[in-house]
Structures are given as C-alpha cells and as structure tokens.
C-alpha cells in the first residue's frame, strides 16, 4: 500500500516536471514568435496551451484523490499541497506565454516591438526562457541553490519591467506600441513572479518552512 502511494507521489513529481517542460517550450516559442513575427509558431503556442490546462486539471484531481485515499500527513501532505500550488503557477505561466503569442498574432504581419525597445524585450525573453528552464530543474532536483537563482532572475525581470515604463514614456512610440509593450513587459514580469512562487514551494517542500515574503511589484 505504502509502495503504491510512494510510486504515485513520484509520478506526481514527474508529471509536474513534464508540465514544466511544456511551459518552457511555450515561453521560448512565444518569445520567438513575438520577436520574429512568426505566425505559425504563435498559433502553435496558442493551441498547445490547452494541453497545459488539461495537465493542470488532471494533476489537481489526482492530488485531491490522493489526499482522500491515502490521508497523508507531514512531508507527504506537503508534497501534495505543493503540487496543487505549483500546477496552478505553471498553468498561469502557460497562459502568459499564450497571451504573448496572441499579441504576436494580432499584429502579424507587422512586428510588435519597435527598434528602440528590441534590446529590452529580447533580454526579458531570454531571462524568462532561463527562468522557465530553472523551474523545471528545481522541480526535478529540489535544489535550494537553484531556488535562490530563480529569485535573482526574477529581480532582473522586475528591473527590465521598470525600465520599459521609462522607455515607453520617453521614446517616440505610438500609443498602440505603448499598449503592446506595457502588456508584454507585464507578462514577462509575471513569469518571474510565478517562477519565484514555485521555487518557494520547493523550499517549503524540502525544509517545511515558508521563505520570507519579499512582497510583489506592480
């Protein structure tokens, strides 16, 4: 009985990691679609988001069933409750990638990012790709140092986000561009927040302690 439960907990972890790899792909592809005005790739990200959504529902149902059937306590219960939380964050990261792809699709065949902001948005894209890879790694390894590295990448995304406010207000961009860039920068910044949230769940999982909250930015 215990063996089956252990196997189910382990399967839960593997499926979270699989879900996180899909999110990685979505984040990378959405940014590429955005920066290269690739309509087919944008469509792909939008369609594939359904898979991420249904993985979340499936994981959730299994978590609730495991609680009901196995009545876990202590560390096992933490694993399951954290699973619920992490799948919700991953699902939101998938939504954000879809939103970025939707903006790319909406402006096609035009490009969304004006030349003046290309460097900043490219850096946000790169940081979000890195952070989503780190999320998969931290789910797989439960490495606390990696959890800390995710917070550093989130700080970078916050800084870049803040810099877009200044840039859109001072550079010569149209109102349309200002709207697009504001949304994009917000979506990228939220990737970082969700990644940090997942990293903290892993810390909680390993140590049983919730890390101190640093607050959230706009």
């Amino acid at each position: 009985m215990r063996d089956i439960f252990t196997a189910e907990l382990s399967a839960l972890g593997e499926d979270l990691a699989a879900m996180s790899r899909l999110v990685e792909t979505a984040v990378a592809s959405a940014g590429t679609a955005l920066l290269t005005a690739d309509l087919a790739l944008a469509e792909e990200v939008i369609l594939d988001d359904h898979t991420i959504d249904s993985m979340e529902r499936d994981l959730d149902e299994r978590c609730v069933r495991l609680i009901a059937q196995q009545q876990p306590v202590a560390h096992d219960l933490r694993v399951i409750v954290s699973g619920l939380r992490m799948s919700a964050s991953l699902e939101r990261m998938g939504d954000l990638a879809r939103h970025i792809a939707e903006i790319a699709r909406m402006r096609f065949p035009g490009t969304v990012v004006p030349p003046e902001l290309l460097q900043t948005i490219t850096r946000m894209h790169e940081a979000s790709v890195q952070v989503s890879q780190q999320v998969t790694n931290v789910i797989e390894t439960r490495d606390l140092e990696l959890a800390a590295a995710i917070e550093a990448n989130d700080d970078l995304l916050d800084e870049l986000h803040a810099s877009t406010f200044v840039a859109t207000a001072t550079l010569i961009v149209t109102a349309q561009q200002a709207v697009d860039i504001t949304l994009l920068a917000r979506f990228y910044e939220r990737f970082g927040d969700h990644a940090v949230s997942i990293a903290r769940r892993v810390v909680y999982l390993v140590t049983g302690e919730a890390p101190a909250d640093r607050g959230s930015t706009i």
Copy 2:
C-alpha cells in the same frame, strides 16, 4: 470530534468571507483613490494589503492542518481544497487593488485617467466593486445563481478591457497615459477572472462538478 471539525470548517468559511469583505473594501477604496486622486486613501489600501496577505497565510496553514488532523474525504475535503484555492484568488484581488492604489500614488497630485477615458474606467471600477461584493455573497450563501451573475460581470469587464485598447490607440493620450490605462484596464479585467474562479470553486463545492472552462482573455 466530528462537532469540532464541523465548527472548524464553518470557521474557515466565515474567515474566507471576512477576507472577501476586506478585498471588497480594498477594491472600492483603490478605485476611489484612483478617480479622485486621494493620496491618503491610496496609502491606506497599500498598507491594508498586508492584512489580506496574512489572512491568506493563516487560512492556508489551517487548511493543511485540517487535512492532516482530520483526514477529510468527499464533501469536507472539497470544502478545504476549495478554501485553499479561493484564498489564493482573494489574495490576488487584494494585490490588484494595491497595484491600482500604487498607480494613483505614483501620479499624485496628478490624476491618472484622462477625461476621454474617465467613463470607461469608472464603469470598470463600478463593475469590479459589484463583482467583489458578489464574491463575498457567493462565499456566504453558496448561491449558484449568484455564481452565474459573476460570470456576467466578468464579461462586462472583458468588454470594457477590450474597449480601452481601441481607446488608447485612437484617442489623443500620451504614452505615459497609455501605459497607465493599459495596466489599470488589465488589473480590472483580472478582478473579473479571479471572481469567476471563486464562483466556479463554489459551484464545485456545491455540486462536486467543475463548470466547463470558457478560456481566458488577454
């Protein structure tokens, strides 16, 4: 033993409703601070968000403790898992209210909303106040018709959100105003999403069935 558990479940529901009332106040005050450039009120919303955050942590710990101690199944387990989910949505609604207050504070003594967009943002404010009151009611009453009314208000927020894209792109607004309005409209639109998420949790709680997903908008 069962009596104590029933009392604890009931206290959980009451505390969720209390948390929801704090969110109601935050939503109403943030909008008023925004529309009347009221710095003191904006500061109040920003400070009070800590209370909402700590209520979420407290509710979460109690949910996990109840699962561990009482090993609930079936409806009781649904109540607790839904409690975890609803407190997370309420906490996010509190964050969004704080973000609106932060924008009001940032632009003080100026106003954020240009005259051309005052009507739209006022309508978003009113719809979000109404939706946050409905959220408290649905948590208290578990009324399925009310849950449906929340979806209607969310549709209105989605429409208003879409109309701000057109307005900022066509009306004569500065890039700064475009950034502010884009963020504000996004925050208001997210209120609706979280309210719908809570309404669906209540439907799940009452019926044991998850309502069909309508997808989410940008």
